[in-house]
Structure formats: structure tokens, C-alpha cells
């Protein structure tokens, strides 16, 4: 009896201690959510439309594309690399799927096979990135930058004008709702949860942290370093492919300018969320904060009708201040 009570009490104190440890270990996560809260309060004071349920769901829906890409990017950044090809992977998936839709006269039966095809294209491209990086020991950032440029050329070769012919049923991915909540927002929530569980509770997820922390230590602990690295790039390109498929349902056409700039934006979101760009440290919860911050910033810009010429200036300042604020010691 007394023992059970003690246990409960002990469990509770240790939970509080856990909270304390979390606060001490994750100042950047608390900071980013603090900034988001501040931005939300400020925005709803300046413009009451901000608080409306439709705008809030709109923000969540706008966060899906960059969110998907940023989840994949987090995994790559946690290994100590960077994937600059994600935007072009998203674009090529959209273009390929739209091209086949057009060739098949917008056949509804093709939707599921084509979604699978799109994901496979992404995984394949990611596998190629992973192969290049693990086999040649090249700098991931620069080599994926090159891959992105090749894909940019290939995308232009596929089409330089928007491709119509996406069946109406496909647009449901973007439009379908339960009550007021769009289904895709709910699914996205589940994906964030799954990504968090994967990175914090599973073996391959922890291996990503281990490889990013110290590749040599991971190798000596008999982790499959090359496979873990390759897996991170496959995941990142696969998430990019999902983003491309989602973008296709949003615009309804295969857009040859889709996802422009998403590669760097996703890295900015990851960095804002406090994941160390040298790898091995951080949390996907922070990435969610970074994504939300970028999307809310954009939303506030358009609600307050900030001149487009000043938007980039502010964005640049946010990035510079954010990266200068976190000092991530080099592990050299």
C-alpha cells in the first residue's frame, strides 16, 4: 500500500524532473514556440481575421508542403548532411505524374498506381543521392546541389508550360474535409507523430542520431553507417515526392515552377527548429516549430499586406538572426 503510493509519488517527481530536463536540453524548441505564440498574439491584435478558424486551418494546410519536405530534410540534417535536391524531386514527381495523367485522358483508375509511381521515383532519386554520397564521400550539400541542377534541366525538358489533365477526383486530396477540418491536415498530423516516433523511439531513427553525432563511433558500434546515411536520403526524397504529389492536387496542373526555393526553406525551417546543422542534435518537434513559424510569417505578411519587395528582406533578416543566435560548436 505504502509502496504503491511511494511509487506513484516517485513517478510524479521524476516526471517533473523530466520536464525540467526537457527545458534545460531544448531551449531552442521553447524559444521557437515562444516566438510563434508572440507572433500569433501580435497578428490577431493587428488583424482579427487571423484568429478565424478558416485562417488557422489555412495556415495548417499551407504548412503541409514545406512540412513534408522539412521532415525528410530533418533526417538528412541530423546525419550531418543536407539535401538540396528536394525541391526539384518534388517538381519532377508532379510533372511526371501530370504527364501520364494527360496521356491517359485523365483516367481516375490510374490515381493510386501513379501516386505509388511518384513515391517510387522519389525513393529512386534519393537512393541515387545516397549511393553517390556514401560511395564517393563527396560533400552532400554540393553534390545534391549539382543533382538539383541536372533535375532542373530534365524538368524543363519534360515541359516548360503547365500540364493540364489531372482528374478532378485527384483534387480531393487537397479539398476533402471532415466538418471544417481538411483531411490532409489530419493526415499530416499523423505523419508528424510518426516521424517523431521514428526518430525518437526506433532503432533506425536512433542510428541517424548516432551517425550524425560521430560517424566513427557509430561505425565502431557496428551500426550500418552507409545504410543509415542512404536511408536518410531515400526518406528525404520520398517525403519530397509526397510534397510534389500534394502540390499537384493543390494547383491541379503539373507546374514547371513548382516548389521553387523549397530546398533552402526546408533547411531554414530545420535550422530555426534548433537541429544542429553539424548533425546529431535536435528534435523533429523543433522542425514543426520552424515550419509553423515560416508559414505564419507568410500568412501575416499577406494579411497585413506587406509589400512583396520588403517580404524577402524580412525573411532574410529572420534567417540571419536565427542562425547567428544558435551557436553550435564544431565537433572538430
Amino acid at each position: 500500500m505504502g509502496l504503491a503510493m511511494q511509487k506513484e509519488k516517485f513517478g510524479e517527481t521524476s516526471r517533473w524532473r523530466q520536464v525540467g530536463v526537457f527545458v534545460r536540453n531544448n531551449p531552442s524548441i521553447l524559444l521557437i514556440y515562444g516566438i510563434i505564440a508572440l507572433m500569433c498574439i501580435l497578428a490577431s491584435v493587428l488583424n482579427p481575421d487571423f484568429r478565424s478558424a478558416s485562417n488557422l486551418f489555412n495556415i495548417l494546410r499551407q504548412s503541409i508542403v514545406i512540412g513534408l519536405i522539412a521532415i525528410g530534410q530533418s533526417m538528412v540534417v541530423l546525419t550531418g548532411g543536407a539535401d538540396m535536391s528536394v525541391a526539384m524531386v518534388a517538381r519532377i514527381v508532379g510533372l511526371v505524374v501530370a504527364t501520364i495523367f494527360l496521356a491517359s485522358n485523365s483516367s481516375v483508375g490510374l490515381i493510386i498506381p501513379l501516386v505509388l509511381l511518384g513515391i517510387a521515383v522519389g525513393a529512386l532519386l534519393g537512393g541515387f543521392n545516397g549511393f553517390l554520397i556514401t560511395e564517393t564521400h563527396a560533400n552532400p550539400f554540393i553534390i545534391t546541389f549539382g543533382i538539383a541542377n541536372i533535375l532542373r534541366g530534365v524538368n524543363l525538358a519534360i515541359s516548360s508550360t503547365p500540364i493540364t489533365g489531372v482528374p478532378d477526383a485527384y483534387l480531393n486530396i487537397y479539398d476533402a474535409k471532415i466538418g471544417i477540418a481538411p483531411i490532409n491536415v489530419i493526415v499530416m498530423g499523423v505523419i508528424w507523430l510518426a516521424a517523431w516516433i521514428f526518430l525518437s523511439r526506433t532503432k533506425p531513427g536512433r542510428a541517424i542520431f548516432a551517425v550524425g553525432g560521430s560517424e566513427r563511433a557509430a561505425r565502431l558500434s557496428a551500426l550500418k553507417v552507409n545504410w543509415t546515411l542512404a536511408m536518410a536520403y531515400i526518406m528525404s526524397a520520398t517525403f519530397a515526392a509526397l510534397a510534389g504529389l500534394f502540390l499537384l492536387s493543390r494547383t491541379g496542373v503539373g507546374d514547371p515552377s513548382a516548389a521553387e526555393g523549397m530546398d533552402f526553406q526546408s533547411i531554414v525551417a530545420v535550422a530555426l527548429g534548433g537541429i544542429s546543422l553539424y548533425g546529431g542534435k535536435g528534435s523533429i518537434i523543433g522542425t514543426l516549430g520552424g515550419v509553423l513559424m515560416l508559414v505564419i510569417l507568410n500568412n501575416v505578411f499577406s494579411l497585413l499586406q506587406v509589400n512583396i519587395y520588403y517580404q524577402q528582406l524580412v525573411l532574410g533578416m529572420v534567417v540571419l538572426i536565427a542562425v547567428a543566435a544558435y551557436k553550435s560548436p564544431r565537433s572538430a
Binding site: 564517393t136 560533400n139 554540393i142 549539382g146 534541366g153 524538368n155 519587395y309 528582406l313 560548436p329
Partner: protein, 335 residues
């Protein structure tokens, strides 16, 4: 006792079966250094066979001026890569300089404007260097933030459209000739010569190699490594600005997309020319050959009448192959 004193590197060696032969190491090292000049020759020969229009005087002049512009930017990029950094803001600085000079020449004197533009470039380089060295921000994210910021500043100043005319002295630098040779080429050669001497014979130049090769050892040897990194960034930004002035003089007008692909091209030129992104290895001869390789390839796409998206593919291929080669070379040399 004996087990514990085994060095980690040796212990790691037990796990990997791959043991490169000295011949392989030597071969990859040579390939990394000589790939660009050999590819240059191959392209020149291929162009003579495939595209007769390639050797027309006007096309040659275009090529030479493009080499000069990219070459000037790539000198700075090489210095930055040598100290283990990278500069993604060169394209923004390049365009900003052109906008400043073109927009303000109507009012004030050209000399004042030039000094003003150079000072702004130096400040941008200084900020890059401070972020990279003092705050230890990964270079690509710091300089990319700078790219977005500078582009934003340019948009805010020019309201999206740059007006004004390119002053005469820039036209002379960008398009004029001194005897048979374009002025831009002479400027590039002079800058190349200057920085070859700086890298080879000055303390600053030798320290650049030292800091890139082994930052920790350099620090222990009493080199102020942060100052060297900042110096390299300042030089890189200033050279990017000079490249922008020559480019605007050559094109004759300034638009929003001016110089947007100089980030990728300058990095690719340096890396294909034998500079490794892990620092301390590389030289300006290699970079010059890399610059020529890129410009020749891009020009060949135009002369052969291929669709323009082949230029992206070419740039990407050069960058991917060069990065893979240099990465492998560095890996072999460091074993």
C-alpha cells in the same frame, strides 16, 4: 594495455576491407588536379569538329569575356573554399553592385559610387566571415541567409525594376579592347596574377592554406584563424562585386536575373579545378581551367543549337562529377 593503446583510426581500419593501392591514390590525385585542363582541350578539339561557328571571332570574344567575369568571381570563391567555407551570396553581391553603380551614376560622381559599392561588398563579406568564424554557423546556411537578405535589399531599393544606364567606363571594361585583347580578359589575368602571388608568397596566402588544411593546428601555431576566414570572405565579396561591374558593362543593362547562376558556376569551377571542399588543397591555375571548362561547355550548348535546358544539365553534371571525384580524392589522401 596494448589493446587500449591502439589508435581509433587503426581500429576503424579493421572494420573496413577497402585498402587502396598507392597507385590508385596517385592516379585519383592526378585526375583531380588535371581533369579540368584535359577536359578543356577535349572540348576545344570536339568543338572544332562539331561546330565550326565556335571559332568565329565574335563567339571567341563572348567566350573570353564570360571566362573573365566568371574567373574573377571564382578567384574569390576559391579563396573561400580553401579556408573550408563556401560563399553562396556572390550572385546577390554581383547583382547588387551593378544596381548601385547603374542607379546612382546619374547624380553623384562615378568614383564615389564605386567606393560606395566596394564598401558595401566588403561589409557583406565581413558579415559572412563573422557569422562563419565567430558564430560558427555552417557556411552554406550563413551565406544563403545573406543571399536572401541582399536580394531583398536590392528589391526594396530598386522596387523590382532597375533603371538607369550603364556608365561609359563600365562599357569600356566590359566590352572594350586594348589592342587585340578585351579589357575584361586583361583585368582577369591581372587579378589572377595578383592572387597567385598573394597565395604563394605572402603570409596571408600561406596562412589560408594552413587554416584550411588544419584549423586546430593553425590555431595552436598562433595563427588568428578567424581573421584569415574573415579576410577570405571580404576578398570574395569584393571580387564578386568587381565581376558584377564587368558583367553589367558587357551586357549593357541591369535586370533582376543578372548573374543568378554565378553561385553554382563559381563553386563548380573551383571544385572541378582541383579545390577540395575540405579546405587547404587547390590553386588558381586549376580554378582558371575549371572556369574555362564551364564557359566552354555552356557556350557549346548554344553554338550547337541544343535546347537551353541542356545548360542546366551540363552545369549539374560538371558539379556532380567534380564533387564526386574530389570527395573520393580527399578520402583516399586522408587515409
Amino acid at each position: 594495455m596494448n589493446e587500449l593503446s591502439v589508435k581509433p583510426k587503426l581500429a576503424a581500419g579493421r572494420f573496413s576491407a577497402f585498402r587502396p593501392s598507392p597507385r590508385l591514390i596517385r592516379g585519383v590525385d592526378l585526375a583531380g588536379q588535371w581533369a579540368a585542363p584535359i577536359a578543356d582541350l577535349a572540348i576545344l578539339i570536339a568543338a572544332a569538329i562539331l561546330a565550326p561557328g565556335f571559332y568565329s571571332p565574335t563567339n571567341l570574344k563572348t567566350i573570353v569575356i564570360q571566362i573573365a567575369v566568371l574567373g574573377i568571381v571564382a578567384i574569390g570563391q576559391t579563396l573561400v573554399l580553401l579556408v573550408r567555407s563556401i560563399d553562396l551570396s556572390v550572385s546577390a553581391v554581383l547583382a547588387l553592385g551593378a544596381v548601385i553603380v547603374v542607379q546612382t551614376t546619374s547624380g553623384s560622381s562615378t568614383l564615389v559610387t564605386l567606393v560606395e559599392a566596394l564598401a558595401i561588398a566588403a561589409v557583406i563579406g565581413l558579415a559572412n566571415g563573422l557569422l562563419v568564424s565567430k558564430r560558427q554557423v555552417p557556411p552554406f546556411i550563413a551565406t544563403y541567409g545573406m543571399l536572401v537578405f541582399v536580394q531583398g535589399a536590392r528589391l526594396a531599393v530598386s522596387k523590382g525594376q532597375a533603371s538607369g544606364t550603364v556608365p561609359d567606363f563600365l562599357r569600356t571594361i566590359g566590352f572594350g579592347q586594348l589592342g587585340p585583347l578585351p579589357v575584361a580578359l586583361l583585368l582577369w589575368l591581372a587579378l589572377n596574377g595578383l592572387f597567385l602571388l598573394v597565395l604563394k608568397y605572402t603570409r596571408f596566402g600561406r596562412w589560408i592554406y594552413a587554416v584550411g588544411g588544419n584549423p586546430a593546428a593553425s590555431r595552436y601555431a598562433g595563427i588568428r584563424t578567424d581573421a584569415i576566414v574573415i579576410g577570405a570572405h571580404v576578398i570574395c565579396s569584393v571580387l564578386a562585386l568587381v565581376g558584377g561591374l564587368v558583367l553589367s558593362g558587357y551586357i549593357g543593362y541591369v535586370d533582376l536575373n543578372l548573374g543568378s547562376d554565378y553561385n553554382l558556376n563559381s563553386i563548380a569551377a573551383a571544385i572541378v579545378g582541383g579545390t577540395t571542399f575540405t579546405g587547404g588543397r587547390g590553386n588558381l591555375f586549376g580554378t582558371a581551367a575549371g572556369v574555362a571548362l564551364l564557359v566552354l561547355l555552356l557556350n557549346l550548348v548554344v553554338v550547337l543549337g541544343l535546347p537551353i535546358h541542356w545548360q542546366y544539365v551540363m552545369q549539374g553534371l560538371v558539379l556532380v562529377l567534380a564533387t564526386a571525384l574530389q570527395g573520393f580524392r580527399q578520402f583516399l589522401l586522408s587515409r
